[in-house]
Subunit: 463 residues, 2 copies
C-alpha cells in the first residue's frame, strides 16, 4: 500500500519519506514511531486532497503540531503504515477583529506566535501552559493551564472551527465564523475540541481573545497543611471573586527539589517552614486595581495567619514566583525515573485524595519520592512519583505499570479524572479502556464509527 | 401502537392520557400538539424503563421542562403518536459543594429554584434570562442571556451530565461528576448541551456556580447612532476589562414602545433624545469596587460625550434600567403580529447588518414597525418586525414566511447565526434545512443516527 499511497499523495501535497521523516517521528516525551511518510500541506485544499487519497488507500493520517503533547497522540505508531500530517506550513493568521476580540488562524500556528500577534494589539489567548503547542494541539487536548480558574479551558475560548472530515471526499465543515452564540443544531465543533486528533482534521480555528491584564497581585503563601490551603481557597474567592486567577499548590518536597536543581533561583520563603505552599494570583484587565488588590491580599493573608493556617507569606514578585512554579516539573524528574500524573477532582476531594495516596505510597513504596503540585483552584493536581535511579532495578516496567494502575484506581475512587488536561493518546489508552465506563466507550466508538468508519485520522480508537 | 405502548409504559412510570394531557400540549408560544400520552417520571430509573418501552414500540419521546422554549421543541407534534416526558416531578438537588462551587440537580429543577438554593449560599447560576425554564430546557437550548459577555452560555457552566440513551436498554451515561477538567476521551456531554432535546434524555446535571456579585455599576447611555454605540463597546472593555457584564442595546423606537405600553415605568432618559440607547453593566464578586466603578464609568462616559458619541447618560438604578430592558419584548408585540428574530454576528458585523436590514425594510415593507434590542456585547441582537393589525390582511402567512426567509438570508450574508440562543425546534427547522450547510446537516444526521437510530427522542431530525 505504502508506495501507491505515497505516489498518489505526493501528486497533491508535498510529502517526505525515509530519513527525512525522522524529525517528525518523536515528540517531547520521546515517544517514537515509524511514519510511512510525512505530509506537509500548506492549505486546506491540500489537506482535503490528502484525505481523499488516504481514504482510498485506507491509510491512517496522524495530525501533528509542535510535538509537545504528553500522551503520544501526534506521532505515527511503530507499524510504518501511518502517515503523519505536519502542520508546520499552515500557520497563517486568516482574520483578526479588534472589535470582536477574535482571530482566525490555521492550526499550525504556535501559541507563542498567536500571543505575540495578539499582545501587539493589547489582547491575548489566555491559555497559560509551559509548552508551546500549535493551535491544533491545544484543540486536540483541550488544554487548561495555570489560569483555568479565571479563563477556562481551550473549549471555552473557541468560537469556530474549520474541519476536513475523514470521508471519501474530504468534506469540509466550515464552522469558522467567530460567533459567541450560535445554536442552530448540534454544535459539531465541540466534538473536535478535546478530540485527541480524531474524527476529523482541524485546519483552522476562530478563537476569542481576552484583553491583556492591567492589574495584578501575586502572593506566595506557606500553609500549615493541605487542609488549611484547601480552606483558604474559598477565602480568597470571597475576597477577590472571579478575579482570582491562579491558586497553585506546591508541596514542600517539590519546592526543595527546585532549590536543589536550580540553586540560583531565589526562594521567597524557606521550603522548610511549612509542608505546603501556594502561588496565588489575582488579576484583571481593568486598570488601576493594583493597590486595592494588595490591601485585600494583605487582609486575607493576615486573617489566615491569625488562626495559624498561613505560616508565612510574600507578596509581589510574580515573575520570580512563576519561575519557581514552572521549574517544578523539571526539578522533580532529576536523577529519577518519573511517573507523572495529571489528575483532577471536585475541589473538596483533592486533599482527601492526596492524603490517601501519600499514606498508601509511604506504606507500600517507601523508597519512592513524591512531588505534588498543581492547579488546586480548578481541582487539578500534578503528581510525580519519582523512582530514584538507585532503586530503578526494583521497578521494572511491569511493576511501574502496576503502580500507575493502582494510583489511577485511587483517583477514580475519589471521583477524579485520570487525564485532566493532557488528553488521550497511546500513553494512556489502556487506562481509558480500563477506567472509562463501557457505555461512554461504546457511545464514543459509535460517534467515531459514524464520522470516521475507515479510521483515516488519529491515534485513538474509542472502543 | 398507542394502546399497547400506553399499557406497558404505565406499568413502569406514572402516565396520563386523554384530557389530562392538555396542560402539556402547548407552550408559552402557544405551539400546540397532541400527545399520545404524558409520562411523569420521578427518577432516572423510571426514565430508563420508559425509554425501553418506547424503543420497543418505536414511539418518540419528547422531553419537556417548563414549556418556556421559543422554538416549540418541547411539545409533542400534531400526530397524536408522540409521548411527552414531563420533568415536573424530577427537581431534586442531589448534591451541593460550597468548596467546589458546584451543584448536581435533576433536569426538572427550575432556574428560579436553582438560584434560590444557590443564593442562600452566596452563589448563583449566572444565566440571566427573562423566562424560568428548567435545567433541562436551559441545557437543550444552551441558553445565553444578558450576562453572556461575562459568564458565558450554559455550556460554559456545565460540569457534568447524566443522560439516558435512546437505545434498547435505556443505557445510562453517568458523566455527572462535577469536574472542571476531564479530557479522557470524547467529551460526550457536549453533544447534549444545545442538543435541542435530541440524542438522549438528560436526567441530571452538575453545574458550576459563581459567587454572587458584590460590586456593581449600571449605566444607561444615549448614543448618537449605532456606530457610536458599537465603537463605545471596546472603550468600556478597555475601562473595565472582563468586568463588563452587559452591553444591551435598545433602539429609540423600542424604548418608545415601552413608554407607550407601560406608562408607569420611569425612563432615565427621554426616548426622543437619541436613536439608540444602551444599558451597560459592570459587576464583580469582589466586594468594595463600587466607588472605583462609578469613577471609571463617569470618566468613560465623559470621554464619549466630549466627542459627541454619547448624547446623555444616567447612572445607578439597576433595577429600573433592567425593568425597561425586560419590558421590551412585551411592548414590541402589542397591537401587532410579531415576527421575532434572535440572531448573532461577529461584533463588527452587527451595525452593518442592522443598517442593511433597516434600509431594506423601509424600502420594501414601509408599514411594518421594527424593534431592535439585545446583547450587543456578545454579538447578539433581537429584532422584532411587527405587522400592525391594521395591515395584517396584507401579510398572510405565506408572505410572513417569505419575509422571514428574506431576513434570514440577510443574516447569513452578514456571517450571522439564525438562532443565537433559542435553539432549534419545529418553528425553525425549515430554516435549518435551508440555511445550514449540507455537510453540517449530514454530519449531525450521522451522529443522530449513531445515537438514536429509531428516533426515540426529541422533535428535531438533523438530516
Amino acid at each position: 500500500m505504502s508506495a501507491a499511497f505515497f505516489e498518489e499523495a505526493r501528486a497533491v501535497v508535498p510529502m517526505v519519506t525515509g530519513e527525512a521523516c525522522a524529525p517528525y517521528e518523536s515528540d517531547i516525551l520521546e515517544m517514537r514511531g515509524k511514519a510511512a511518510a510525512v505530509a506537509l500541506p500548506s492549505s486546506r485544499e491540500e489537506v482535503q486532497r490528502l484525505v481523499q487519497v488516504a481514504y482510498r488507500h485506507r491509510v491512517t493520517l496522524v495530525p501533528q503540531g509542535n510535538r509537545t503533547g504528553l500522551v503520544g497522540g501526534a506521532v505515527a505508531d511503530a507499524s510504518g503504515r501511518q502517515c503523519t500530517v505536519s502542520f508546520s506550513r499552515m500557520s497563517r493568521v486568516r482574520a483578526f477583529s479588534a472589535v470582536n476580540r477574535s482571530i482566525t488562524v490555521e492550526s499550525g500556528l504556535r501559541l507563542s506566535e498567536l500571543n505575540r500577534f495578539a499582545e501587539e494589539r493589547d489582547l491575548h489567548f489566555p491559555i497559560d501552559i509551559g509548552a508551546d503547542p500549535t493551535v491544533g494541539g491545544l484543540l486536540a487536548t483541550n488544554a487548561g493551564g495555570s489560569r483555568l480558574l479565571k479563563y477556562g479551558d481551550v473549549r471555552r475560548n473557541v468560537l469556530g472551527l474549520e474541519v476536513v472530515l475523514p470521508d471519501a471526499a474530504g468534506t469540509v465543515l466550515d464552522m469558522a465564523r467567530p460567533l459567541r452564540k450560535n445554536n442552530t443544531g448540534l454544535d459539531l465543533k465541540q466534538l473536535f475540541v478535546g478530540g485527541n486528533g480524531t474524527l476529523g482534521i482541524v485546519t483552522a480555528a476562530s478563537l476569542a481573545l481576552a484583553r491583556v491584564e492591567k492589574s495584578r497581585l501575586s502572593m506566595f503563601a506557606a500553609f500549615r497543611d493541605y487542609e488549611s490551603a484547601a480552606e483558604a481557597l474559598p477565602e480568597f474567592e470571597s475576597a477577590f471573586g472571579e478575579l482570582l486567577g491562579s491558586f497553585e499548590i506546591m508541596a514542600a518536597d517539590a519546592l526543595r527539589a527546585v532549590l536543589e536543581a536550580f540553586p540560583a533561583l531565589s526562594m521567597p520563603l524557606s521550603p522548610t517552614c511549612a509542608p505546603c505552599f501556594a502561588l496565588i494570583e489575582v488579576a484583571s484587565a481593568m486598570p488601576g486595581l493594583g493597590a486595592m488588590f494588595e490591601q485585600r491580599g494583605l487582609e486575607t493573608l493576615q486573617a489566615l495567619s491569625a488562626d495559624g493556617r498561613v505560616v508565612d507569606a510574600a507578596l509581589g514578585a510574580a515573575d520570580r514566583f512563576w519561575r519557581i512554579r514552572d521549574s517544578l516539573p523539571l526539578a522533580a524528574v532529576r536523577e529519577a525515573v518519573p511517573l507523572t500524573f495529571d489528575v483532577s477532582f471536585s475541589r473538596d476531594a483533592l486533599v482527601p485524595f492526596l492524603r490517601d495516596l501519600g499514606g498508601w505510597l509511604d506504606r507500600t513504596h517507601p523508597r519512592l519520592r513524591r512531588y505534588e503540585f498543581g492547579h488546586f483552584g480548578d481541582g487539578g493536581c500534578h503528581v510525580i512519583v519519582a523512582i530514584p535511579h538507585a532503586c530503578a532495578a526494583d521497578y521494572p516496567s511491569m511493576r511501574q505499570i502496576a503502580l500507575r494502575s493502582a494510583i489511577y484506581e485511587r483517583v477514580m475512587a475519589h471521583g477524579g479524572s485520570f487525564s485532566a488536561e493532557h488528553g488521550l493518546g497511546p500513553i494512556n489508552m489502556a487506562y481509558y479502556r480500563k477506567l472509562t465506563s463501557p457505555s461512554e466507550r461504546a457511545t464514543s466508538a459509535a460517534v467515531q464509527t459514524a464520522l470516521d468508519p475507515q479510521h483515516v485520522v488519529g491515534r485513538c480508537r474509542y472502543f
